[in-house]
Symmetry: C2
Subunit: 382 residues, 2 copies
Amino acid sequence: MEVIVGGGIVGLTIAWRLSRAGRAVTVVDPAPGTGATHAAAGMLAPVSEVTYTEEPLLRLGLASLGRWPSFAAELAADAGLDAPAVEAGRGVDLRTDGTLDVAFGADDLAALDELAAFMAKLGLPVERLTGRECRRLEPMLAPSVRGGLLAAGDAWVDPRRVAAALLAALERRGVPLVRARVTALLREGEGGAVRGVLLDQAPGELRADGVVLAAGAWSAELADVEVRPVKGQIIRLRSPEPLLSRCVRGTVHGAYVYLVPRGDGELVVGATQEELGFDTRVTAGGLYELLRDARELVPGVTELEVADVVAGLRPGTPDNVPYIGPSGTPGLTLATGHHRGGVLLAPLTAAILLGEEPELAALCAPSRPRAGARVEALEEMG
Amino acid sequence: MEVIVGGGIVGLTIAWRLSRAGRAVTVVDPAPGTGATHAAAGMLAPVSEVTYTEEPLLRLGLASLGRWPSFAAELAADAGLDAPAVEAGRGVDLRTDGTLDVAFGADDLAALDELAAFMAKLGLPVERLTGRECRRLEPMLAPSVRGGLLAAGDAWVDPRRVAAALLAALERRGVPLVRARVTALLREGEGGAVRGVLLDQAPGELRADGVVLAAGAWSAELADVEVRPVKGQIIRLRSPEPLLSRCVRGTVHGAYVYLVPRGDGELVVGATQEELGFDTRVTAGGLYELLRDARELVPGVTELEVADVVAGLRPGTPDNVPYIGPSGTPGLTLATGHHRGGVLLAPLTAAILLGEEPELAALCAPSRPRAGARVEALEEMG
């Protein structure tokens, strides 16, 4: 039996895919689906996110995006969601209408042109639009939007629905879910092979043939892995009718802000990126910046009701690429450090652990070289 | 027996004071203390509010402010709060450290000077301060604050604690509280004397010798009274240590914003004023404006945690003065239309109904002349 530590979207996905592959698994999490997954906007946007990422991450993202449609369909089936329910928007709300990246000033426009050229070189399907063309696609955009880049292949999903569907699928498959906190890995001697986990409550410990560490930002508390919490705050607004038909993002006041519309009229505004340790407070300053920037992109958001404000902790790594695969310690596999890409990369992560993607596995192997990576990451954060 | 319709701070106060005076009362409210009282900041600030009010309201406010200390002490005693509890800040959190009204630009400063002169003429205790003096009193104020006006006599209280104490005092006195909605007044014939209330659930109706209408913004649904809902949104922030030692307010972007510190470290930021009917949605635009303006007054608020966001409906009247006293219809007494002053004016309202303030009663008599009042009020709202 294998233990999956962590019931976020990554851990739950691994448990579900391993179980479908015939392996005995147990998930351990004190409160599944309430961490970064609960706060995530759910953009599946490897193309429009290419600006901030390196090429390895783009390759991983594109590969995982390609897996999402069949992943979502199989998940809906395993979770017992029938076709009418999925069609009525009660599935995981996978939408594939693309992401529109918009620009306000001359500098932003120049950056968009550069990005469009870079994407063309990579053979990525993007389209450069004028301000008028942007507003034709999305009439609620601010009149001051001067141009945009449409990544038609980008998609998005509702991470809370995905987590709920995964929990339902696991229950239907009879996969045990232990609602406890893992306090330490159970090892054979000092620094030896991992043989299970210690829990903060009964049964006290779980012995296992192997442990998959998918504990997100908390992973470094359990193993020697360079993962740090990167706080993100989001706002969920409620709209009587949808303001947008696709994801919209842009740089406002030097910070990226995005708006993700859901099928039920919800509009998610995200997200701050703060390096504050294990701090999950929703702050006045975080809300202020999100609301200010969202207003500049789409002035009509001011009329919308605030449904929810929430903060989560992304698991950041020095090179922004997750650690997926053998840890180097016998019995311990890593599936953590997904940073902003946990929802996007969940299907690929499970596929890598099942040996389906040997080439991509090398890109996110925990043993990969990463000299100087931290410096680059810090420079990138500016 | 008399029925009090409405379990906000005004209705509960009336019930408590009438009961203490030996009268049999029953309070009817589907959810006491959850309306405007729940959203109120609790400023007892007749002096610093003098700018937006007419002189009658100032006189009412000063009289009621004078009643607050003994009112709070008697309430704590009747509610069973012992002296150590009150001293430890678990009372109604009445604080008397004054309100500081600050100005940023030359126009604001000129307005402060005018206001100071007006207050001096009225014999009100205010002190004109330089920007440096303001920051000496409140070091967290923005460096751009150029001057201020200290109304040392102004006070504030926690309205949620007041409502809780009133409910406890009523329970200890054995005053019945019927958790139902009043659907109509029970009348003798068409437009005749009021003899009780009809309820939306069992017991269906309550017969009474008299009815006091203290239903706030909903009063006009039950009687012919010119009260309209004026929406206010507030944000409650949580501070590890107090940022301010007194209420601070100022005009930012043409709108008044205030910050009210509580004994437990909470900081209330309020409040929007919106004429949108019975709309209690917390909106992106409302939060944005409050956060933006609060940041300008006290930049340090950005670090604080958002504990709560809430909207309430103030009961506005054409001349901003409440209706307190006989309605003109036998059996029906009014105690509504307190607009921004419900918390401040609650003690006086009960005193007027007990006949203790005949002179002030004339100012807020429902039968008062108010020709042209609506025009003035509209002009004032700009």
